[in-house]
Amino acid sequence: MAWTAPRTWAVSEVVTAAIMNTYIRDNQLYLKTDIDTINASSYPSILDNEIYVVPATNVGVAETVLSAFTVLADTLDTNGLLLRVMWSGYLAATANNKVMRVYFGGVGGTKLWDSGAMVLNGDNWQIEMQISRVGVGSQYATVGTLFGQPAPAAKQQAQERQSAAEDETANLDVTLTGQSSVGGGEITANQILVELL
């Protein structure tokens, strides 16, 4: 079905069947076909896309939620649906121990990644995670983490994979935490991006 440049109608014009079919029917079909094609190509949807005007930093010595997003109940209602999450931030320029963790289902849910104690100093970091539904109440996650400043000294990266058994019919948080035995201000999150594929 071809697109025809929309008609500029004239005063007192009496429309004909041919005019209506070309400018109304055919153009409507053209637009509908295009929209259906795009819809069928499984485009991801952006669920959340934020930079924190006030960056989120760990507080005290307890584990602090730096960033969380609530995936609404039944979002993962079909096998194969996939959440892709990206976080970025930075670490304080200190030699203090720093620990970061990622959870699905909130802090009480499935722990997908635990950095353990890191003695990284002033590094920027990036986390990319994918959680896919593999069955009813069953998910599979991969987490990639990367720490490093522009100059590549002794930096760190990790790849983790983890199964989860969270109830997707309930709201589920994807959560990033930070903790340091020394106190607050050691780990900061700048950004979160959540996509549904």
Partner: protein
């Protein structure tokens, strides 16, 4: 979706459309199409995808735009709209120093904003991958977080670099997003093989 789609009417000669026809076949279908388009307000679109099996090399000792894309004016007009850039390539198997820079700036000019710069720290025969998110933060400013991974096939000497920075380009202009490569040893030290630019619309 509240509007209902009806297969467009084939109009016949001498037909006099009545109110019901006009509402159903014109108004309701227009509303349906408008609502359908709104679904793409939080979608991802591919703006550019380049690849080269041979690779695009650096030239001379100056930094070379290995691959680049001109983002149309006003693409980032809405706060939160994000460009995601993914690039891959390789370096020559020698000990010469090589450098990668992900940046953006005015078309025809240099990459004024350079949030990711590995410095001349990439050396022997590495495959590399760069990924960046450039998000419109406020009118006239963008926030970028990015990383580069580079290392030989054997993971003995793999390195990475992560960075973040604000840039200040007028989103009303055409913006050139580029991956620049350089080496103080001259040409053919670093190649780009692919360059993908996606547009992430802000949530509705």
């Amino acid at each position: 979706m509240t509007a209902t789609w009806t297969a467009p009417r084939t109009w016949v000669a001498a037909e006099v459309p009545d109110k019901a026809m006009m509402d159903q076949f014109i108004r309701d279908n227009q509303e349906y199409l408008k609502e359908s388009l709104a679904a793409f307000d939080s979608s991802v679109f591919v703006l550019d995808s380049q690849s080269s099996i041979a690779g695009v090399p650096n030239v001379g000792t100056a930094k070379t735009a290995l691959m680049q894309f001109a983002v149309p004016a006003d693409t980032l007009a809405e706060i939160g709209t994000t460009l995601r850039v993914t690039a891959t390539g390789r370096t020559a198997a020698n000990a010469n120093q090589k450098q990668l820079i992900l940046g953006w700036g005015a078309i025809g000019g240099p990459s004024v904003e350079q949030p990711l710069d590995t410095g001349l720290n990439i050396t022997w025969g590495s495959e590399w991958r760069v990924r960046a998110w450039i998000r419109q933060a406020t009118v006239g400013s963008q926030f970028c977080s990015a990383y580069a991974l580079y290392g030989a096939a054997a993971p003995a000497a793999g390195y990475q670099s992560a960075d973040r920075a604000y840039g200040y380009q007028d989103e009303g202009d055409v913006i050139r997003v580029a991956l620049d490569g350089g080496s103080n040893a001259g040409a053919n030290q670093i190649w780009a093989h692919s360059f993908l630019v996606e547009l992430l619309r802000a949530p509705a």
